[in-house]
Amino acid sequence: MANSKKSFHISDFSKYMCLVSIVLVFGVFSVIIPNFMTPYSLQNMMTEAAPLLLMAGGMSFIIYTGGIDLGAGAMVSCTCVLSGVYVAQFGNAIIPIMLAAGILMGLTNGLLVTKLKLPSFIVTLCTMNFWSYIALNLCPNGSEIIPMDKRFMVQWATQKVFGIPIMFFIALAGVAVLYIFQQYTVYGKAIYGVGANVSATRLAGVNTDMAQISAFVISGACSALAGALYAYKLKSAVPTVGDALTLTAIASVALGGTSMAGGRGSVLRTALGVVTITGVTSGLNMMGVDPLWKDIVIGVILIIAVCLNTDTRGRDLIVK
């Protein structure tokens, strides 16, 4: 209501926000830090970004529906622990197993949200307890290292092809699949519809419950894959690895210009958001800023990005 007289709406800016911020971040840091853009540092950033790309890509779909998954980080922790503990037993078959587990977790969230008609933030806050329970129960003494003689199984993920880590290729493939799903399938379109206007979408003959559930399932699968990648990357089962990731993933989605109210956005924009956030965190790291500042910086970025994204023109709806 405050800026109704302005002809330029802040929300117009959000379209270009991801590009502006990515240029800004990488420009500023490569001026300040001489070796910011060296191949070694870029490789590091790619390994950093790979699991986050998957996680934030999946989270985007939930945010398209207007929901949120506050338990995604705990899901990553849970699958990281599961794959770290059981990779010795199952070998690389653990990845499809984790995908199945992620689908199951997403399904739980989706069913609770749609069938009981609860707000997603409360459901995911509850189910978060389940995931972290599994993670902490399997790893009661902090993290557990994958035994040395089984290391050869997980070694491939951190190898590099043409100088690019294989993990990053996996993440890119994941983003590509998500993009195709979002752009060229009926369910992809239905997910946007749910976020934009549920009743209109339902009247158009779309099974909105199904669309919402599939958004949660996709996000679950992506988070699970991200968790497995973390286990491969860290070569251990870490029950707290996902704690800070929920915030980072949500901030990446918001930074990409995706509206928290749902209905618009794109996985590619989220990917750019992830690149920006990774740039910020590694830049601050290389400048020698205390890593304790990371959460504060990302939190501030999230608030600013969400402020810019919010469509202040839709005034008839009450926001709680």
Binding site: K117, L118, P119, I122, I250, M260, G262, D295, L302, I318
Partner: protein, 341 residues
Amino acid sequence: MKNKWEDSLSALSVGQQFAQKVKDDARKDKIRRYAPLILLIVMTIIGAISQKNFFSWGNIVNIMYQMSIPLVISTGLMYVLLLGSIDLSIEGVMGFAGSFVAFLVINNSNDNDFGLLGILLVVLISTAVGALTGFLHVRARIATFIVSYAMGCIMTGAAVLVYRGTPIQVKDELFNVLSQGMLLGIPYLTLIAFAIFIIGALILNYTAFGRAVYAIGDNETAAASTGINIGLTKIKVFALCGCTAGLAGILQCIRLKLGQASLGTNQMFPVVTAIVIGGGSLSGGKGGALSAFVGVLIYTELVNWLTLMGVDPYVRKVIQGVIIIIAVTLTISRSRKTISK
């Protein structure tokens, strides 16, 4: 279920259908009003059976002591839930308040000695953080769960930054007195907590501001048309919630004589559960001081009992999750035209 309801009424006129619906709602309301009390009685009976001296003065004081910090949190949170909003920043604010107050009073890591002034300063900062959350929500029209979530992460970060690794131990005499002192066998901490809650309850029940909170939660559009300043009321509510979260953090610091970010961990969610059990609703307009109190009491007795049964704390969290899903399912209103995604 809805279809069945419609089928059975298809023969009735619109007026009769409406009357039926009103009657149904009234019945549901009645169940909702008495369910918490019945639950409280059941929990008390279970407690009395499983604990020999459940009704002894010592155990009553013990339960009062255990519920004191959740009670302080619920003071602010009940206002926020009455609006139909949520404040996920409570844990972060608590952690920050506890760490920063430990930093300001006499401690083992620096030479600060602000005493009461330090406590006041921390309460003011917490209130300002709450007000900022409310301001961002009202002005930028961001859903509260997202803005308060981000704010909570920022405050947790700030809390860790205050002590950088090693939690600060408090050496202040004032804190010693407050944590160990007793009046008539009741710890000061409990008395302070109950006083804060009673003040909050009085403001909610006997001021225009409190009435406005109910009105906004019940029907925001109608409240706006009666001339209530919706934005300002919401900002005040969030400021109040920040204030009580800060107080809860300080009390937590007094209790443990330690300032660290994890003072707030897992403190908010049980209180949401408790308020909803007590008859509050996440969609707003329902509940109040008494129901928050009953909810916190039920919850404390439940935790007391689970601990007594030797249930693992992580399992307790899972049980909490299940309880809140059930409670929210029963109480949430699905007919409102609101965005509470």
